[in-house]
Amino acid sequence: MMNKRINGLGSYFLLCALCGPLLLSQSAQAQLDIDIAYIKLQQEHRPVLSNILPEASDAGQRGADLALQDSNTTGRFLKQSFHLKTDISDTPEETLTRIQSRYAQGIRLFIFDLPAGALKTASAWLNKASLNSVPADDVLIFNTRAKENALRVDQCISNVLHTIPSRAMLADALAQWLKEKRLNKWLLIKGSTEGDHAYAQSMQRAAKRFGHKIVAEKQWSFDTDLRRLAQKEMPLFTQTEEYDVVVVADEQGDFGEYVLYNTWYPRPVVGTQGLTPVAWHRVVEQWGAAQLQSRFEKLTGRWMNSQDYASWLAVRSIAEAVTRTNTTNTTTLKQYIISDKFELAGFKGRKLNFRTWSGQLRQPIPLVHPRSLVSQSPQAGFLHPSSELDTLGFDAPESQCRLAERF
């Protein structure tokens, strides 16, 4: 029986080497072991006013766990076995030490659940180490957390692919929908963190791109406890020139939850609260997503969030490349993943692949409120010469990154 199975596969590979997408490998019959390091720097949660629903502390990690399960179910038919080495640290220094020891063990595939700063330091170290080794430049890194636009525009890092959408992608997804709804006059309010400012900047860029007007922009700086005073504070805070919609940039949920139903004008609230653009949410259930959701809930007992989804995609991207190329050679895997042959089914109704310039995974962005899916961008009618998904975020001419050239 075993023999039969392997023969069947061998001939399949042979056939498809002819039609292009697969590489014939001599090792088609050998057992492949694929080691992946998942590196997480524990997120610091600063105290917020809206502290009723805590964030999951294992966000991201469990998505990788599920993808590992999924990939090994597939792998057992192909004699491919995937292993995840999970390192969770509390400081950037400890993170780097862990990465160094994983590299020393021979691991070349990394998933970084790190903030931008730690991501840059760690990737720089890995890239330098691998350039001096034989074979050179054979690392592949997935960024599953850092949403900074700069990483996709002018702070390009070699060998890094992004499965988490950039803030610009989220902002553009929302702005397209607002255009569709003709909600063109915005009040933009933001919190005080670096992330809040970056989110607000992405919304400003999106406003310009899609022809919206920001009638007023305000920063939240009050330090009262809004759980008691929201009804009094928020209407005054949002009393400006008239707007169609309030756009909130409050990534950690400090005050944003209290904006809804408390605005001076009775207007919808969108952004980090209210109607929110996300990579993933429990309410996404079309395109077979219901199955992914229920597998995740079964494994973890909680809902799958955007970070879990980004990690799931990272592990699945590696596994898909291994399945199709039947190799553990990182350089081959990298080239396959960034090529136009690569396609990943990500439960969003169309195949996903990576932008060759920035290494960003193209993906539709769901727009959700806590209990339902409202829409999914790109919205119909926002056209692009090659892929409508590239109307979200930074397109090739807007980015200095030329990642694929160095792959």
Partner: protein, 326 residues
């Protein structure tokens, strides 16, 4: 406009009258995934004659060989229900494993091959004794299921593993796997059991597989003017008994493709309802009925004219469909 419509209706009725000689009033059964019901359509009048409550999230449905019973995958009830079609009563529930989605009945009229979507398993159940004969490990999210007309092989697709799994029906063991494009859905054997058709929803194509060698011999891709290639997502497949045509439901492209099974050329794209899933022929194969998930209706396609002639409103998210001839 109206006149023309009436003419088409008249034509439809007259073609039906012609077919009446071979088959009297036929009945279509449609599972409504989000209503937990079946819609019953009289194919003489194209009217809904009954709506029947069944288990939760009904998807795949299949007739027993003598057409006296209907098997229903009640996915969220984790069971396969057996309905007596003379009374429309559920007479039995079969142990199906968790989350049954699609299934196939062996030509022996006894063994049901069921895909358990949540559990990466295929379950084989004896419909007479209600006994589970085997559970076979397959890939992630098993979906499509088919048994070859000669009864020797069962195949199953797994949507996230992207494989067609081959099961020997005698030993009830997995014997081989064939890798296909992203998100394989439906599988259908040719009448002579020599060729297998498998649709890849996200890959956007249909693989034609030689059953003896288990190798892909052709891939059929689709192109419809004005429809983005990513929206062409093949799901259901039906092969006509005369061996001439394959019909492929293209999901959110809202069309079905008609393929010449000799040349693998796409002959025609027929506009039907929104997000077309699955299809069924009537007995003499003059009509093809499609379930359209999003528009919540069934489209009737006249095969001689290769045209949609009627759409019939059913429940929410119609999924599976079978036609019972009287």
């Amino acid at each position: 406009m109206k006149k023309q419509q009436r003419l088409t209706q008249l034509f439809a009725i007259s073609t039906l009258l012609l077919s009446v000689q071979t088959a009297l009033a036929e009945t279509a059964y449609v599972s409504n995934e989000k209503d937990d019901t079946l819609s019953v359509i009289d194919l003489d009048t194209y009217e809904i004659t009954a709506t029947i409550d069944v288990g939760q999230r009904p998807r795949g449905i299949i007739l027993s060989k003598d057409q006296s019973k209907l098997y229903i995958c009640a996915s969220d009830s984790d069971t396969v229900q057996v309905m007596d079609l003379s009374t429309h009563q559920i007479i039995k529930e079969l142990p199906s494993g968790e989350d049954p989605e699609q299934f196939a009945l062996h030509p022996n009229d006894r063994h049901l091959y069921i895909a358990n979507e949540d559990d990466a398993l295929a379950t084989i159940v004896d419909t007479q004794t209600s006994e589970v004969l085997a559970q076979i490990d397959v890939g992630v999210e098993p979906e499509g299921m088919a048994v070859s007309p000669d009864g020797k092989i069962a195949v199953n697709t797994s949507e996230t593993t992207n494989m067609v799994h081959w099961i020997d029906t005698e030993t009830m063991q997995l014997v081989d796997n064939t890798l296909v494009d992203q998100r394989p859905r439906h599988v259908e054997f040719s009448k002579d059991s020599k060729v297998l058709w498998a649709s890849s929803e996200i890959g956007g194509n249909v693989s034609i597989i030689d059953v003896a060698s288990r190798q892909i011999t052709h891939k059929v891709a689709f192109k419809i003017r004005g429809v983005h290639p990513d929206k062409i997502q093949p799901v259901g497949i039906k092969l006509s008994d005369d061996g001439k045509y394959a019909f492929v439901a293209l999901g959110p492209a809202n069309h079905i493709a008609v393929i010449d099974t000799k040349t693998f050329e796409v002959l025609e794209y027929i506009l039907v309802g929104r997000r077309v899933w699955h299809m069924a022929f009537n007995a003499d194969q003059s009509l093809l009925l499609t379930t359209n998930g999003i528009s919540g209706d069934v489209t009737v396609v006249d095969i001689a004219k290769m045209k949609a002639i009627k759409s019939i409103k059913v429940g929410r998210y119609p999924w599976g469909i079978v036609v019972k001839s009287q």
